[in-house]
């Protein structure tokens, strides 16, 4: 039997770039706290907002799980006000994560707030890793990820760090044996298109969800093998299985 929502202590909640926060929580569990690509639902409120908010695992060290989030609405705004020792209700880990059993050169491509699962993936993969990260302007977490990867490629939309433009502009699929990506849907679609049918490409999909555990069907997406729930069958799918435009 899985645990439902459990109340945990916040270890830290720090703004690391404009509107981007790093949240660390202390969890207790006899089971795995999660794999790369899995996520947790959060709530630090009763019924307002009504729904919980999903966040991907960015890192796990001992019993401390790290998440990154961007302030986009009321829920994330409430979260940003939380201080160490404040309580948070969490449900998870949820969903199916990335396949870690890969060989050869791996490209990890993230854009925007799609970066957290890629960071934990970089840490957990035991192969050659080339990390591509696209930011709007401020760059964060690259110092941390450096020790786990062979090379980092950075783009910023304003050109303040790395190359100016989108990360998909500089990604060269022919150099890799496997590709993982997480970020805005148009970015992931571009990555899958660039990979054509040459190499396996795994995408971590995002969708508005209510329950996070497979009941509401709010996050269902169309795939080549029928409708699939991002929260339950996903969030990770084989890139060519997904219809990005439906």
């Amino acid at each position: 039997m899985k645990e439902g929502y459990r109340e945990v202590d916040i270890s830290s909640n720090t703004e690391i770039a404009k509107d981007i926060f790093e949240l660390k929580v202390q969890l207790e569990s006899n089971d795995s706290l999660g794999d790369p690509g899995q996520f947790y639902m959060f709530r630090s409120w009763d019924f307002d907002p009504l729904l919980s908010r999903p966040f991907s695992i960015c890192n796990i060290e001992g019993n401390v799980v790290t998440f990154l989030y961007k302030i986009v609405g009321r829920g994330t705004n409430y979260l940003s006000k939380l201080k160490p020792k404040d309580k948070l209700k969490v449900l998870g880990p949820l969903g199916n994560g990335f396949n870690l059993n890969v060989n050869g050169k791996a490209a990890l491509i993230s854009g925007g707030i799609g970066i957290p699962p890629m960071i934990y993936l970089a840490k957990k993969l035991s192969t050659e890793i080339y990390f591509y990260a696209g930011f709007t302007n401020e760059v964060y977490y690259m110092d941390y990820v450096q020790k786990y990867v062979n090379k980092i490629y950075i783009t910023t939309e304003d050109g303040s760090t790395g190359q100016k433009g989108f990360i998909t502009d500089i990604f060269r699929p022919e150099k890799y044996d496997v590709v993982f990506t997480c970020g805005p849907s148009p970015m992931m679609k571009k990555v899958v298109e660039k990979c054509e049918n040459m190499i396996p490409v795994f995408v971590s999909m995002e969708s508005i969800m209510a329950c996070g555990m497979g009941a509401c069907l709010g996050c269902s997406i169309k795939t080549k093998s029928g409708m699939k729930r991002v929260c339950k069958e996903g969030p990770v799918f084989e890139g060519r299985e997904v219809f990005f435009d439906d």
Partner: protein, 300 residues
């Protein structure tokens, strides 16, 4: 000794808490969190004769005190349900209610005929889904149209029949009376409220279908009033639905005249919501020295 049992159309529920259709799948996801045999009953995801993919575009949108949804009856179809889901559901010690939708009266009739051959405990006729273009709510607004669907289904239905009413009915009491006259053994009310949300940056409606169904605590006072009015007017059991988040809401519905309730949106907020509500009801009755729900049913 506390007794929370309730009998509706000859079917005994161990307690008055039923997981609402569309919010509980076919039970499997929740079984990971609590034994679903604790439930009084479970109403399945809305079933249609043929498989449906559901609606495109945004499917969930949060509002103050509520959720709007436009899932669009994504389901595997009646035949696949009977083969793939029903054996599991029947293995659980709780009342299983098949929630049935259709585009046409014929589809309702064929679906019910198929379910007659199974061990399903009850049928809940959904004439009130706001998120499908044909059928659904169009059967649930005018009493004479609803009456016709219920009459045709009643002719073939060999199971106890619940009819689920829409809050969009022109007159909820008249609608309830028509459905009972046409053969409903019980009524469940209400389904979600048709509602609208607009994205002002894109200058268009949030949902592809423009409107979507609103549920959650914001609808409770209106749903409760409808349950109160209908339960005074009909002599079949009424099952209250709408914004039940904890045991206190259930007690309100029972006091307004409901025999049982369906819990929906709360399942999305907390997978253990139904189990906690059941415990809360027992504790309340204990504390208040009430031994059966009948003592407080319809006291308002």
């Amino acid at each position: 000794m506390i007794d929370t049992k309730v009998k509706i159309a000859g079917v005994e529920f161990k307690n008055p808490v039923i997981a609402a259709s569309g919010t509980f799948g076919f039970g499997r996801e929740f079984l990971e969190y609590f034994p679903i045999s604790k439930l009084g009953g479970l109403s399945t995801k809305g079933l249609t004769l043929r498989e449906r993919e559901g609606n495109k575009g945004v499917r969930i949108h949060e509002t103050i005190g509520g959720i709007m949804n436009s899932i669009g009856l994504q389901n595997p179809g009646i035949d696949a349900f009977i083969v793939e889901e029903l054996p599991f559901l029947n293995s659980q010690d709780t009342v299983i209610i098949a929630n049935v939708s259709g585009n046409t009266i014929e589809e309702y009739v064929i679906s019910v005929e198929k379910l007659n051959q199974t061990e399903i405990d009850m049928i809940e006729l959904n004439i009130s889904c706001p998120n499908v273009k044909e059928g659904g709510i169009s059967f649930g607004t005018k009493a004479e149209i609803a009456s016709n669907v219920v009459t045709q289904v009643r002719k073939v239905c060999q199971k106890p029949l619940i009819v689920k009413l829409s809050p969009s009915a022109e007159n909820i009491v008249e609608m309830a009376e028509s459905c009972v006259e046409a053969g409903a053994d019980a009524l469940s009310l209400v389904n979600t409220f048709p509602a609208l949300a607009i994205d002002i940056s894109k200058k268009k409606a949030i949902f592809d279908n423009i409107t979507a169904g609103l549920s959650g605590p914001c609808i409770k006072p209106i749903a409760l009033r409808m349950v109160y009015e209908v339960s005074k007017a009909v002599d079949v059991p009424v099952i209250g639905i709408g914004g039940i988040m904890d045991y206190r809401d259930v007690i309100e519905y029972i006091m307004a005249g409901a025999w049982a309730v369906q819990v929906g949106t709360a399942n999305f907020i907390n997978p253990n919501a139904c189990a906690e509500i059941i415990e809360g009801i027992e504790e309340y009755l204990q504390k208040e020295g009430i031994s059966t729900l009948e003592e407080i049913r319809g006291i308002i």
